[in-house]
């Protein structure tokens, strides 16, 4: 039981890194990236393949950040000139391409068979093999991520990112090189996802393409939206809630197929409720759903926020 709780905590830590990094692109800069799981996967495979080839863990960790960042940059160069909605489609396609490569480049990735036996990390003779030690590692990385992203967004740099989210044309008129900033935001976001991928790979010690799907990105997006786009603390809380929320299902004996479906349902129901009653998320300042107002779609004129928000917050 104790180990199980630690396991949940490790997952929380990894998803905190993922949701915060996604928030940097989606919530702060307004880049609708739905290929985040691909950067996560690139990080995981890079780190796994390198350590399996005998490269020290810490070098593999850095390499996975760089590799994911490189891919972020490469997707960004052609896409970031396009308008927002196109970026969503392009990153969606990118995510699927990366997954197809993971599946089919069997010479490198062993395809659907996955990569087993990924070594546990060690640094300066300290082994992170036990779950307590691994949790420590994940918590440290998560805290570093929170600190760095917090610094990024609460600075003149972050202010420019937000201005791009608010009004790109106005940002240009004030002399901001909008394309460069978007590219940097996407690259930094991808780098942290790469780090999360490395953490995941060395924790589970087995990876296969089925982890890095569109559903995974959707889950991360749910965390961002639930916590609040443009809020660091929101991403932390959103990640923790959505990791923990479906866990009680494990204790009800359900056929595994039903359990998986139920998980998805819990995610979607919590998201729909959120969009109806508090579209800006628990801690968010602005709504991510300006364009497709769910309340209008459902024919509800005025949101009844008063009571429900207190419960949620």
């Amino acid at each position: 039981m104790y180990d199980y709780l630690l396991h949940i905590a490790v997952l929380c830590g990894i998803y905190v890194v993922l949701s915060i990094s996604l928030n940097l692109a989606v919530g702060f800069t307004g880049l609708f990236n739905i290929g985040h799981a691909a950067f996560y996967g690139i990080g995981a495979y890079t780190s796994a393949l390198l350590t399996l080839a005998g490269v020290p863990w810490w070098i593999a960790l850095i390499a996975s950040a760089i590799m994911a960042g490189l891919f972020g940059f490469m997707v960004g160069v052609p896409c970031l000139r396009l308008r927002g909605d196109y970026l969503a489609i392009a990153t969606l396609g990118f995510g699927e391409i990366i997954r197809a490569v993971m599946k089919n480049w069997t010479g490198l990735t062993r395809g659907p068979l996955g990569l087993p036996g990924i070594p546990k990390p060690s640094l300066f003779g300290v082994q992170f093999a036990s779950i307590d030690m691994y949790l420590l590692l994940v918590v440290v990385v998560a805290i570093i991520t929170v600190v760095i992203v917090n610094r990024l967004v609460k600075s003149p740099f972050g202010r420019v990112l937000k201005s791009i989210r608010e009004d790109e044309i106005a940002a240009k008129s004030l002399g901001k090189n909008v394309v460069k900033y978007k590219l940097q935001a996407l690259t930094l976001s991808a780098m942290f996802a790469g780090v999360a991928g490395s953490l995941y790979a060395h924790y589970i010690t087995f990876i296969d393409p089925s982890t890095f799907t569109l559903m995974e990105t959707v889950l991360m997006l749910c965390m961002v939206v639930l916590g609040g786009a443009g809020s660091i603390i929101g991403s932390v809380v959103g990640a923790i809630i959505l990791v923990i929320l479906p866990e009680p299902l494990r204790f009800i004996s359900l056929p595994s197929s039903a359990a998986a479906a139920l998980r998805q349902m819990i995610y979607s129901v919590s998201l729909i409720l959120m969009m109806i009653f508090r579209p800006q998320g628990i801690f968010g300042e602005t709504s991510t759903t300006k364009k497709f107002d769910l309340r209008k779609l459902l024919g509800m004129k005025k949101p009844k926020i008063k009571l429900r928000t207190k419960k949620n917050a």
Binding site: I148, R159, V160, S163, D167, A170
Partner: protein, 253 residues
């Protein structure tokens, strides 16, 4: 300061701007007028790099800026406002001002490492931003979100934001449109102050009284074509201009 020669722009067959030639001298206020759809905003967009001309050149401060990227032109000292106000609605008034400030360390490395130089620049920027907000009498609102300001205050903030870097050339697209009399006076007062300071301004405005009172030179566009250029007095007597304005009584006392 600004020299526009032979400017042409078509939008799918519609000649939005053609044969446009004019120049703005240093310290001068030039008005760009014409009926709705005449191509005034298009001229602004061409000059500031937001759209590329099909033909023609824009020379700013001796440099050819035709088809340069808008952010590069902005950094050369050309500031503009928009006909449809473009603020950062979910950011505070102060943040809106700070974003316009040059000499800020806006790179991500500075953000992560927070060196003392960057902090110093942040402080300097803050002082200048508040100065400017006091100048336009918006400092009481500095922590409000921009979207919560009244329409007139938003117009004022947009002008203040364009002014904060002491631009060489200021382009105002309908600064007085849709504001009440008090705010109109305030904006007039502000532009007069800028005039006294020797600022160079190119402005679009439908309020004729405003244009005739403020401008040294007036350029008139109609259907994308430049039909007249001259002092306010000359323009008021120009036949073509009166025709363009349907009999010409409207506003042209």
């Amino acid at each position: 300061m600004l020299k526009v020669t032979d400017l042409h722009k078509e939008f799918g067959g519609i000649k939005a701007v053609h044969d446009c030639d004019f120049h703005v001298k240093k310290g001068e206020i030039v008005g760009l007028i014409g009926p709705n759809g005449a191509g005034k905003t298009t001229v602004f967009n061409l000059v500031t790099g937001f759209i590329r001309p099909d033909r023609g050149t824009v020379i700013f401060d001796g440099a050819d800026v035709t088809s340069l990227k808008p952010h590069i032109i902005a950094r050369m000292g050309m500031s503009r406002t928009f006909q449809m106000i473009r603020l950062f609605p979910n950011m505070t008034v102060l943040e809106n001002m700070l974003l316009a400030m040059k000499n800020q360390d806006e790179g991500f490395k500075a953000a992560i490492f927070r060196n003392p130089l960057m902090r110093k620049k942040v402080k300097q920027g803050l002082v200048r931003a508040i100065e400017m907000l006091e100048f336009v009498d918006l400092h009481a609102k500095k922590n409000e979100l921009a979207k919560n300001l009244s329409y007139g205050q938003q117009k004022l903030l947009e002008i203040a934001r364009a002014l904060v870097n002491d631009p060489e050339l200021l382009l105002l697209d309908e600064p007085a449109a849709g504001v009440n009399l008090t705010m109109l006076k305030k904006i007039k007062g502000l532009i007069n102050k800028l005039k006294d300071q020797g600022k160079t301004i190119l402005l679009v405005e439908h309020n004729m009284e405003f244009v005739m009172e403020m401008c040294d030179t007036v350029v008139v566009l109609d259907h994308g074509e430049e039909i007249a250029i001259g002092t306010p007095k000359q323009i008021q007597k120009n036949k073509k201009v009166l025709e363009a304005y349907l009999g010409g009584t409207e506003g042209c006392e």
